[in-house]
Amino acid sequence: MRTALFVTCLNDTLFPRSGRATVTLLRRLGVQVDFPPAQSCCGQMHWNTGYRAGTARLARHFVDVFGGYDAVVVPSASCGGMPAEAYAVAAESAGDPGLVRAVHEIVPRVHELTTYLTDVLGVEDVGAWFPHRVTYHPTCHSLRAAPLGERPYRLLRAVGGIDLVELPAQEECCGFGGTFSVKNPAVSGAMNADKARHVRATGASVLAAVDNSCLMNIGGRLAKDGAEAGRVVRTMHLVEILARTPEDGPVPGLPLAAEATR
């Protein structure tokens, strides 16, 4: 069984700690994970902006890099969903039937991280300990495009010491939408402001999600608002919570759950 980590380009460059946490967690669960260094990007930016030729080229690259693995684990719902949702259409658009076949062949082996944990490894309690107040934002992709359902909540509820609080209006988009946030910054910013307000209202120290892209968006707002309010809510990929054990102790600088204040 050869298992590869597709860390995603965003995590590679901006959130390497999520990639390291994925490696830590998978090792703890007995999975020897490989990191093929030729990997780059899933092509979501190209796809969502309408560039199918570019998407098809990155699909070809993905298939070349990961074709030899039995399982590909992706710590992102939106990037992890790209092979299933976009690659075949992009390959057809590029007139490449060979790529269409290769895509159909690889798609069943590509797993978003929480699905890999609950459905492939069959675990919910991963032995994690995280004594802080946490709220969880279901990103649009993990909520609607490739629904994860209760999986992330089940994983979080099984974490020792955690104070998991519900995020109001959680099913509403944070306003990121990739290039949407660049093409329509005013609307995106207005959506994000409401999301950040709901997050702060929970009194959580940490906002968790399965997509660092959305967390980067909300985190940017939380940092800006927090700098003014004197208390910043941190954003963490879900895997960073699952990777921590009692031996790691509490996260330095974060209030303990019992002390978490509203």
Binding site: P37, H46, P185
Partner: protein
Amino acid sequence: MSRTFVGWPAFPEAAAAATHDERLRANVTRATHTIRGKRARLVAERPDWEDLRDSAAALKDDVLAHLDSYLLQVEEQVTAAGGTVHWARDAAEANALVTALVQATGEQEIVKVKSMLTEEIGLDNALEAAGISARETDLAAAIVQLGDDLPSHVVVPALHRNRAEIREIFVREMGRHGRPAPDGLTDDPPQLAEAARLHLREKFLKARVAVSGANFLVAETGTVVVVESEGNGRMCLTLADTLISVVGIEKVVPTWRDLEVFLQLLARNATGERMSPYTTTFSGVTPGDGPQTFHLVLVDNGRTRALADEVGRQALRCIRCGACMNICPVYERTGGHAYGSVYPGPIGAILNPLLKGPDDPQTASLPYASSLCGACNEVCPVRIRFTDVLLELRHQVAEGDAAVKHPAEKAALRAIGAVMEHPAAWNAAVRAAGTAGPLVPKNRLPGPLGGWTDSRSVPEIPKESFRSWWKRTDGGTR
């Protein structure tokens, strides 16, 4: 000449202005959240809701696949029932037809039942140019007309107005167009409704010609179906001598049994009601009962263009319930006018480019007026996959033969893609990002990314990428 959306700015510009309008934001948020809640409660009452959606989508797809024969059946049945059918290729033809039909009656003031199609083709202005005053009788449409405003929602065209603004419009404008608002009118909703009732009653009783749209057109009997909440439609459809119904060619349903499916979906999904207060159906002319002259104007105006689009044609299933607007987080922040069309929200973002072609900057900006969150997909009663169509339209703008191009974006994505495909180049780029991290401005990113940092801090770029860590530590084992 009333206001129109002609020359409207592209979505990002219009939307940015709207997000800063606090009153508009409050009005739209209050209204959409209210309708959302009512809809959710009533949809939950129906255990067969998903089956109804499946049936509705399948029925509409059948209609669209055989539209030519269904339309001929409509023409045959309407003609047999004593009506006259007219065909209009575009807005100009439709407006000329209706104007000529009204002129033939010699009437100068006519009444209208709310119809988004007549808004789409600009019928009121065309009639006005011919010296004919067409008065809206739907409450929200009347508010928009009296205020020389534009519709911002397909079900509730005055959704962007609150009751204080409506009172002000009534007091200022009603007297100029007929019976003035009662003295001492407050913004109490029953008082506002009574003022509208008194003002409009005069119009109903005087008018000899009425213009309507239609929610559905039943092919087997040539029956026009109008669904409404206020009874103004029933008044227009029964009191006038001449009735002119202006209907988009996609409104056909084959049989009355098929209509049953849509009538179960429409009111619950649109306004959160178990059924519509008024559902009026009429087939041709009945001697001694209702309008004695009936004209049906069938309008294309881009619908066959949309029909030719293999992915986009599903937009023609739309029954104009407005649920996609009510649920849309973008619409909630911008209101409807930002979309520059009588069809705003997610359906507007796909329907306008499909009808008109994405060939001007305003229309071409609409497929990007979405974060692709997909909430609209979930509430659509005819299962339009909005996100699929948005992506297809973006593809047409980015790589198709649409007249609007984004050369800088295309070049940038091509360059990024070329780097990402080549491991050595990508390795170098990731390393460079870490090195450049400290050089990234802390407060505002340059160029097109500047808007991003207006409301967010710049993310910090870690010095060591994941791949560098993996290499240095041999996958965390050293």
